[in-house]
Subunit: 276 residues, 2 copies
């Protein structure tokens, strides 16, 4: 595995890759979820590039940029067997003096996470556009855990005609159902135990759906009721939305997304489930 | 010369090109200025792609989108000897139902043309980003006539790391000094004659500069005075700005741009001159 920081070091290594290249963009502090993306890239592409960059422009002024967990040494060891090139640029490399260009997706970024985190997706789409232009991958891998991020990036790629195939990989969960997340490390033991309520609420809504429930209000109510049963969980939103547009549904007919954001103390967790 | 409209037809032709590709993006109604870009691309690249697309998103609601001059048959004949691929997409191909992604450059688009034509550069940068992703050229050719457009695109390419070299070619002028423009066709004979005042004003300011004048207010005043001497010319702005940031200067020290926008009746013309 080559490890590079600067663009000048990245370019010759990238150019040395014959065949197809898969990119796994990450913010580091890697877990099994990230590894599942890397394994999928390994299966499908001749070369695997992993980027680790805690992108400042996707954090709001009151969010956890400074304390976002980092452990480059551990990350590097974890992925070494499966990765050809690890790229860890600095903020100065990605946003040099005088930087002033932004990629924005409109409607789909105004909902759910976008409504709660203004400017978040502007930071995400801008950095992903930059990563695509720099690495020029044939495929790029994202987790279904960040369901709206995946939808936003699919929309951006479609609209701006990026020559990159977006592959969205299933959520990887702990044995008790908690979706893997770098932010889980913020949870104290009690909160960690309580956090399984996200999965339990999704599971019950899914069961209602499988038993024939198609009224989106009823499905959202199942999510709310289960979340309300956990005293440490403070619901921010629950949603039952169209899979592509993320608009809230009245009735579930096609592919739909159940999703939610829930606080445990100051830690904000998200989770989701696709109904098809 | 292949001529294609759809993305499905464009892709196999583009993929058949070995070696380097030069892109000349245009809005059609081609003149000697466009041809100079095509000739330069021909000299520097193995294959030349010309796009003709009157991009609706860069026209304001009160601008001349509907009456912008078009003559595809004539354009096609003009460029055939020098062009490998002519691409003439429709608005529906470039902005399909549900389109919602925009590329925006901030500070540099707020000045000069950007101040007079709100939203104009958002349309320009978005369509150019799309053209780059679709055609994947090694080099792209723009005219110095649209000096701010060239500066904005250079900024976008630098910021978003597009793997494309931007080549800016000199203004091509009529024998009497009027810069070539598709919009010159709007001028009646009297206006056409009066329109040489743009070049004359730039020429006088340049002479003042060559005689040692470095006070930007004085240089702007020369432009204003010469423009004021032509009754049919209605000045919108004159500028003496830093070549890269386009910020107005107090004193000309490094590379600078003299530029202006002037109305003749309803027809708006721009012109510029680089001081180095």
């Amino acid at each position: 595995m080559h490890t590079v920081i600067s663009l000048a070091d990245l370019r010759p290594t990238r150019l040395s890759f014959a065949g197809t290249v898969g990119l796994v963009p990450t913010m580091g502090y890697l877990h099994e979820g990230h590894l599942s993306l890397i394994h999928r890239a390994r299966e499908e592409c001749d070369h695997v590039v992993v980027s680790i960059f805690v992108n400042p422009t996707q954090f709001g002024p009151k969010e956890d940029l400074a304390k976002y967990p980092r452990d480059l040494e551990r990350d590097s060891k974890l992925i070494e067997p499966y990765t050809d090139l690890l790229w860890t640029p600095t903020a100065e490399i990605m946003y040099p003096q005088g930087y002033q260009t932004w990629v924005e997706v409109d409607a789909i970024t105004q909902l759910l996470e976008g409504a709660m985190r203004p400017g978040h997706f502007k930071g995400v789409t801008t950095i992903v556009a930059k990563l695509f232009n720099i690495v020029q991958p044939h495929k790029a891998y994202f987790g279904q855990k960040d369901a709206q991020q995946a939808a936003v990036i699919r929309q951006m790629v479609r609209d701006l005609n990026f020559p990159v195939e977006i592959v969205v990989c299933p959520i990887v969960r702990e044995l008790d159902g908690l979706a893997m997340s770098s932010r889980n490390v913020y949870l104290d033991p009690e909160q960690r135990k309580a956090a399984t309520v996200l999965y339990r609420s999704l599971d019950q809504a899914k069961e209602a759906y499988e038993n024939g429930e198609r009224d989106a209000d009823q499905l959202r109510q199942v999510l709310k009721d289960v979340l309300a049963s956990e005293p440490l969980a403070q619901m921010q939103y629950v949603s039952c939305a169209d899979y592509d547009t993320l608009k809230e549904l009245a009735v579930v007919e096609g592919k739909a997304l159940l999703s939610m954001a829930v606080y445990f103390g100051k830690t904000r967790l998200i989770d989701n489930f696709v109904l098809e």
